[in-house]
């Protein structure tokens, strides 16, 4: 199903031409922003110099540090009174990153969500429970506006308690949820404990899962546990929030809306483009924003372009699910490790529960705490010791380090209200 079939299936040459035109427009718009004007002056680039897609490489990168240095409104490209909404990113340290929306930006963001929602087969007959945090985080409001645009009944549930989420799902026969992957796993445990079988007792049929990188194994685990289809959603505050890229019913990579964003994959260290299909850092330029477009924003998210057309007919290219953030990479005993590698191993083991923590202590001592799934328990202490060794061995095969594995009780690891905190680094290096 399409929300805007013409643009979603636009002929590639026409899409490329539209991109180029919008990129030029954006550069023109950014000449008003002192930060960018200074950079343009240095290299002498002018909007008219952007003649082909490759010319984007003549434009400067923008980094998270640039956003923080220009906090609160140094990167605003319109007059203050044109702005009607502010979101900030969940900055874990120091100042947040602020992003402004004009009236048109709010509408465009909703439009992109509407495309995404329709793309998964959701219609105005669906009841959409948005379990993301409303407020400064974009996951709540931006998704809300888009689902409303489609005409769903939108329940602004927010993160709230699981008891209340369940009550809403039961009373209003929720069919679609928007949820963090870590919370989806926790919620599945919660239902199990309550003795509720979502396939029989609830009307859920689809879940939009995003805001945290997660693995294919996690998707399958959520699908099995909740009895629904899970669609991966990619977004970031700096680019509107959710809905930058989204999966279609094919569930094979996320279509990135190229009429709104120019997509580049670069080598994180050199800044040079990688070959199609190779993994690198995703760099995005917002070319359809008024209040605060950003040029070549370094997302730090690692992904690759999936080559070839998609069966759904959309011409907007797909990116692979995020395999990690270049920021998240851990270096343990000289080995580069992404938490997603560990997650992939754990989620493929049915005896292991859905929550985990990676703990680093002392001089590079790595402990992975995993919850024992109630189904994985047969009363034999010896089997548990074996299971522990098995997990450690599988992890060693994946990350080349044999961590200490600690089996803990189901539900004993902390569950975050917002994004899950999986890595605790207390090393004294």
């Amino acid at each position: 199903m399409f929300w805007h079939q013409e643009i979603e299936t636009l002929h590639r040459p026409a899409l490329d031409a539209l991109q180029l035109e919008r990129l030029r427009e954006t550069v023109r718009r950014l000449e008003r922003v002192p930060f960018y004007r200074g950079k343009f002056l240095k290299t002498g680039i002018q909007p008219e110099d952007i003649k082909s897609a490759a010319d984007i490489r003549r434009l400067p990168f923008t980094t998270a540090a640039d956003l923080r240095e220009n906090y609160p409104d140094g990167l605003l490209a319109v007059a203050r009174e044109e702005v009607l909404r502010l979101h900030t990113s969940s900055g874990t340290t120091g100042k947040p990153k602020a992003l402004f929306f004009s009236r048109r930006d709010v509408d465009t963001a909703a439009e992109l969500i509407a495309r995404a929602v329709c793309m998964t087969g959701v219609t105005r007959r669906d009841v959409f429970q948005n379990m993301m945090s409303y407020g400064l985080f974009t996951g709540g409001l931006v998704m809300h506006y888009g689902a409303e645009k489609v005409g769903c009944l939108v329940i602004p549930a927010g993160p709230g308690t699981s008891e209340r989420q369940l009550l809403l799902m039961q009373d209003f026969r929720t069919t679609v949820i928007h949820i963090l992957p870590s919370y989806a796993l926790y919620f599945a445990d919660f239902l199990e404990k309550k003795g509720i079988d979502p396939r029989k007792n609830l009307a859920l049929r689809k879940a939009f899962v995003g805001a945290e990188p997660h693995t294919e194994e996690t998707r399958r685990k959520i699908e099995e546990a909740l009895g629904l289809d899970v669609y991966n959603s990619y977004g970031l505050t700096e680019m509107n929030g959710p809905g930058v890229a989204f999966e279609c019913e094919g569930k094979c990579g996320m279509h990135l809306w190229e009429d709104n964003f120019v997509l580049e994959i670069i080598h994180p260290a050199t800044g040079e483009p990688v070959d199609d299909g190779q993994t690198g850092e995703l760099v995005l330029t917002s070319i359809n924003r008024e209040a605060m477009p950003l040029l070549r924003y370094r997302t730090r998210d690692l992904t690759s372009i999936i080559p070839g057309p998609c069966a759904c007919g959309r011409t907007h290219r797909r990116i692979h699910r995020i395999t990690g953030r270049s920021d998240d990479m851990l270096i343990v005993r000289g080995v580069n490790i992404f938490p997603q590698q560990i997650e992939r191993v754990l989620m493929a083991m049915p005896q292991i529960g859905r929550n985990y923590v990676i703990q680093l202590e002392g001089l590079d001592d790595m402990t992975v705490k995993v919850e024992l799934s109630p189904a994985g328990f047969d009363g034999e202490v010896g089997h548990l010791t074996e299971l522990q060794n098995q997990v450690a061995e599988k992890l060693r095969a994946e990350i080349w380090i044999r961590p200490k594995v600690e089996l803990v009780a189901c539900g004993s690891l902390p569950v975050a209200e917002g994004k899950a905190k999986r890595v605790i680094d207390k090393r004294s290096l």
Partner: protein, 142 residues
């Protein structure tokens, strides 16, 4: 063959875990007749002989514990020197390995609770030896 059901529960090896388990059982009005703990590093398994194993297991599961029921043999022995040796030697003669084993003496009756791989086989052997293998009800009535 007579067997006895024990409730097995996974618990982390840290203070307060037994208190949590027993609190849940107390609330469900479960009477505990015998308890053993096998620990291995950071975790352990508690096994309990209780008056209502199904209810106990269900209550623990509802509280979020990994719990299950295991079948064991409870055999009565004379409460005198050499009695345990008779049982152990008899099982040894048949090459049967004892896993978790515990015992208790109450009301002048000595009960040995043993876990073996093949419960039926071990039960038959003990019976042939002239020992009484208890039913669940008998074990609870000791």
């Amino acid at each position: 063959m007579n067997t006895v059901k024990l409730v097995a529960v996974f618990a982390e090896n840290r203070p307060g875990q037994a208190a949590r388990v027993t609190e849940i059982l107390a609330r469900a009005n479960i009477n505990i007749r015998c308890i053993t703990v096998a620990s291995s590093g950071t975790f352990g398994v508690m096994k309990l002989l209780v008056n209502d194993p199904d209810l106990a297991c269900q209550s623990l599961k509802q509280a979020g514990f990994a719990a299950t029921l295991t079948e064991v043999i409870a055999v009565e022995m004379p409460d005198k020197p050499g009695a345990l040796h008779t049982v152990a030697a008899c099982l040894a003669a048949h090459d049967i390995n004892l896993c978790n084993t515990s015992g208790f003496v109450a009301n002048h009756r000595a009960i040995l609770v043993i876990e073996v791989e093949d419960t039926a086989q071990a039960g038959e052997i003990l019976k042939k030896q002239g020992l009484h293998v208890l039913t669940q009800q008998e074990a609870l009535a000791v």
